[in-house]
């Protein structure tokens, strides 16, 4: 199936001082041999697996880059194929040239995630591990890397194993009560069983919740700043950005008028969009601006609506507040150093008092309070301990949601007082569904459980 050899840049383009080009497949050593000459005149094919060799990449007789080459021979490599890694310098010109040379010599450019796919197809990793690796590749932040690593090492697997064990215990009790009705078995009371099922249900809900947090950590938080011109949007934006400037990157906005800034809060990327249309202050444009703000509002996780303390609230302000109400919204009353004309009661009709924050962008008052509010609204009030949480991905979430529904059906059957063979169908379905996530089938689990637990044989 995988007879061809693939190559790709393993590091992110332009980000690192050293880049790694990875080649995997039958021809990987041959191809590297053709473009590399070691200082010690050793051949790559003579290297033992996991060894590194120092030398140059040549295009005909011209040196392209000074590199380190390492070899991982099949099957003891990530893809279980021969892998050669070329550690070269960071410049994209050299990297691109080396990749070109590799491809000229018989490899093809890997598709995104193809190394992982091969690792999976060659039996090196299971599906949940493969997905975790894909998450690593796409990880944007240090925190999300930690989570991905955690997932890979099997903590998701362990958590699901734990839930399945609880579920199996219940199933074993019920099945024993059906198949061994003639025996003198002490089956746990219905009430206790019902309680245990509730516990499994709660465990699943916890896991599902963790997906939402995982999304935030992986993709970051999107904040939209809305408000009329001259309320101080850009000064607030600049203030937040400047404070974090050591890690600020500047990315041009996708729309002509909007500007995105990315900052990191506790390692989580936060994209801040300043709705720009409102900057032009002519009346008819203001209306367009409101419309635009509204569309930005729909995309955001959090909306910061900035109001001017020194002015009365306008209809546009109210409209923006109303539209934002569906989302998490923070009302920022700026310019509190100036004389107040704003009627706070009017805002409180729409927004909880605790989400109204008073600041002064120019005097730098209330900025920390605002930042804390943003964190509270996204990752929660408790400190987010990455190591302890298990983050699941979309596919896993779908399966876990399915299992959750199956558990709920079992609860319903219990509450309707249907006889045991009905709820147990749902419980067994949930047991299977959870097994699929970690790649285990039910097999003889149930009967083994019964014989382990009960004295059978009247």
């Amino acid at each position: 199936m995988n007879d061809d050899t693939i190559a790709a840049l393993a590091t992110r383009a332009g980000e690192a001082a050293v880049n790694i080009i990875k080649i995997s497949g039958k021809e990987s050593i041959n191809i590297a041999e053709k473009i590399f000459k070691s200082k010690s005149n050793k051949k790559i094919c003579d290297l033992r697996t996991y060894k590194i060799i120092y030398g140059n990449i040549f295009d005909k007789n011209k040196i392209i880059d000074e590199v380190l080459v390492s070899v991982m021979k099949a099957p003891k490599s990530y893809t279980r194929e021969d892998i050669v890694e070329i550690n070269c310098h960071g410049g994209m010109v050299a990297v691109n040239k080396i990749l070109e040379l590799i491809i000229e010599n018989g490899a093809r450019l890997a598709e995104p995630g193809e190394f992982t796919k091969r690792a999976f197809l060659n039996g090196r990793i299971d599906l949940s591990q493969a997905e975790a690796v894909i998450d690593i590749i796409n990880a944007k932040t240090i925190n999300s890397l930690k989570i991905a690593a955690n997932n890979l090492s099997g903590s998701l697997k362990n958590e699901i194993k734990n839930i399945r064990k609880k579920l199996l215990d219940i199933i074993v009790e019920i099945e024993a009560s059906i198949d061994f009705i003639e025996e003198d078995l002490e089956i746990i009371p219905y009430k206790k069983m019902r309680k245990d099922i509730n516990e499994v249900h709660e465990n699943l809900i916890e896991l599902i919740k963790s997906e939402e947090k995982g999304e935030i950590i992986k993709n970051g938080i999107k904040i939209t700043i809305a408000g009329k011109p001259n309320v101080g949007k850009s000064s607030l934006l600049n203030l937040i950005v400047k404070k974090e400037k050591s890690i600020v990157t500047h990315i041009p906005g996708t729309t002509r008028d909007a500007i995105d800034e990315i900052i990191y809060m506790d390692g989580i990327p936060v994209t801040i969009t300043d709705t720009a249309g409102i900057r032009k202050s002519k009346n008819y444009i203001e209306k367009i601006g409101v419309k635009k703000s509204i569309s930005e509002i729909e995309k955001a996780d959090i909306i910061i609506v900035i109001l001017d303390n020194s002015k009365e609230i306008s209809d546009e302000d109210i409209e923006i507040i109303k539209k934002s109400k569906e989302k998490k919204v923070v009302i920022c009353i700026n310019k509190i150093d100036k004389r107040s004309k704003i009627k706070k009661e009017k805002i409180e009709e729409y927004i909880k008092k605790e989400n109204i924050i008073e600041i002064s962008a120019t005097k730098r008052i209330g900025i920390e309070k605002l930042e804390k509010k943003i964190k509270d609204l996204t990752i929660g009030k408790e400190k987010f301990e990455i190591e302890e949480k298990i983050i699941i991905n979309k596919r896993q979430k779908i399966s876990i949601e399915k299992a959750k529904i199956e558990i709920e059906n079992a609860q319903k059957a219990f509450d309707l007082k249907l006889s045991e063979e009905f709820p147990v169908i749902e419980l067994r379905a949930a047991y299977n569904t959870l097994g699929e996530i970690i790649g285990e089938n039910t097999g003889e689990d149930i009967l083994n459980g019964i014989f382990r637990k009960f004295c059978i044989g009247k």
């Binding site: 299971d126 059906i178 003639e182 249907l418 009905f422």
Partner: protein
Amino acid sequence: MDDLKNKYDVIVVGAGHAGCEAALASARLNLKTLLLTINIDKIALMPCNPAIGGVGKSQLVSELDALGGQMAKVADDTLIQLKVLNKSKGPAVQSLRAQIDKKCYEIEMKKILENCKNLILRQGTVSDILIKNNKVTGVELEGGNFFCCHAVIIAAGTFLRGRIIIGDKEYKAGRMGEYPSMNLTRSLNNAGIKTGRYQTATPPRIDKRSIDFSKTVEQPGESIPMTFSFWKDKKIHLNISSFLTYTNKKTHEIIAHNIDKSPIRSGIINTHGPRHCPSIDRKVINFPEKNRHPIFIEPEGKNTNEMYLQGLTTSMPVELQQQIINSVEGLENARIIRPGYAVEYDYIYPNQLHLTLESKTVENLFFAGQINGTSGYEEAAVQGFIAGTNASLKIFGKPPLVLTREESYIGVLIDDLITKELLEPYRMYTSRAEYRLLLRSDNADLRLSKYGYKTGLLSKKQYEKVLKKEKDMKFLEGYLKNKIIFPNIQNNRFLKDMGSSILDVPATLYQILKRPETDIFKLIGNFCNDIYIKDPEVFNQTEINIKYEGYILKQIEEIKKYSNLEKITIPQNIDFFKIRGLTYEAQDKLNTVKPNTLGQASRIAGVSPADISILLISLKSGVKK
């Protein structure tokens, strides 16, 4: 050897529950059939519990009956007590269990065999299976007789190199007091069939006159009209009681004190026995915290004083068996008539068989029953039927009878035998069936009689009875859907009396029947005087279908979801070690089992869903061998 007299179509080796069904199936399909047994006085013997049915097992008996097998009918004719198990639960897990008059069952079955056209019964021990070019040609008996045939079905039970153990004594025997078959295993091994050893045991029997029944609890059966067979009229059977007593501390002390004399401890027995039937020694070892274990005292027949001690299986020395028994309340003065014992025997690894029960290595050689590593008369009987039918169909050049897991317990049983890694004698349970709610005893005729009729083992009259039932059920369902009940005082009073809630708006009878507390016979009796259907089974089936509609539909959906996997066949010559991406464990297991379909592959322990995806990809991309 070419003597016509010694030429048969099918030869069945062994006349236990598997052998009888196998021989009857092939003879009834008009094939000249020879049934060989070591002892002609021991046909269809129940060497252990004198009972047929039980949870999961009675479903097998119903299915066998729906296909045209014999067991249900003989059981109906010879039973002395009948019980409904799981009475408080739904119809899917309710099961019948009957105490059988053991001797009557043997006599009745022998009579049927003797009077069956094309069937010849003969005493003899088979020593060799004759094979030419990997194809069966006949059998050779101890003493040198030869019989030629097209197909052989081996249903040898526990007789292959059988060894009986009581305490520190051992005897070569198939069952207590019977010769074993010492040479057949070698013949099978020479043909490339691999065998293992299993063990099973039976409790002592005691004299009824020596039991103090006043210290036991009487366990009567039901006195409502019932049958195992679909083709017999329901009737109230004899109702001879069993009795319940318990072991106690003293019993357990005797066992614990003498545990070194138990063959399972002393090392005389080190093979796997069935976990569902542990000896009392094993129970005391494994569950020391239990203060008592139940013992059911069951009659072996109406003309005998022998009583079976269900729960007191042991192969301890006889004098200890006597002590153990006498420590139990009610059995203080009980006399042993025959002691309990363990038997160890050869079985073939069932994964060497096709789903037809034909050997994968030797053509036209079939295996059925305990020799395939199963336990139980019912499990044996259904295999005998399937093997006998498939041997015949093969001779006729017709497609085989392979039942699936989705449509039958028989399918579950055979698929499990061939697919799963089994470490003990296999017994059926309802929890083994994924689609338990569909595979009920009560609808086995609706599920399977079409196959019985198509094969030729069910008469046209029988099949038409089922077709009529189906037609009536359809009519009744339509009728109930259209019958509207209005919320007037009279109707509501009737519903209230039934324990159901009153109507606010008109509802159909179909809707009312969905309520768990409603009863179809009462509803029809009150609201309908224009129904001509008489068969109560039509009403029962319709009610079940309506009441459990949601769950039934859900299971049908599940079947559809997995049916694709069941449809994708895997070539038999494939080398799984050459499929890249499978884990080593999966490759190894798949090469051992050689599954026929992807569905079967997915049930092998150690084959993960990811392995199935990879298998699917490689099958689709045409990677072969």
